[in-house]
Amino acid sequence: NAGVTQTPKFRILKIGQSMTLQCTQDMNHNYMYWYRQDPGMGLKLIYYSVGAGITDKGEVPNGYNVSRSTTEDFPLRLELAAPSQTSVYFCASSRGQGVFNEQFFGPGTRLTVL
């Protein structure tokens, strides 16, 4: 199993450009998450999904959108990139709640907005 995969690994965007960060998991997990990691700030939840067709906002959703049409994929969309969105983005998945709460993380996408 590849686990959680993310593409691209690195990306530089200009202000106002759009892009989609891809996330795929092959563990048949129902729950998926998007986090951003900034130095000294920990990981902040952007959006999460508890199953195909179901998404909800996390702590810092502004400027982002998500969709979940399949169990495996959970893309994150940046519509109008801003310098404040420069960060490392992590996708994660888990089987569910309760004892299945362990989250498995992808390797991350480092995004720079200039």
Binding site: M41, G42, Q97, V99, F100, N101, F105, P107
Partner: protein, 115 residues
Amino acid sequence: QQQVKQSPQSLIVQKGGISIINCAYENTAFDYFPWYQQFPGKGPALLIAIRPDVSEKKEGRFTISFNKSAKQFSLHIMDSQPGDSATYFCAASMRWRNQGGKLIFGQGTELSVKP
């Protein structure tokens, strides 16, 4: 109320020493407290976790101590090794309360173990 506060931000320990990282929370509804370890260029990975009805959990050289009344928990790394050099995150969750399994992370501690 949803915050988890972690300290110190960075820590330097000699090989063989004990590394201690502390976290504090406010929300008494949290019922699951994991620690994640992250190596440079990688995603975080679960290291060890504890429930609030347990005061201590040990796995090898890693121990979580939990103080429910003080709303604090800590990670102790015994006999620290250079291979333990990484960033450590504490987290909290309401994993039984239909909250989508969300984790609230602390700010992270960058640990460096010197040979």
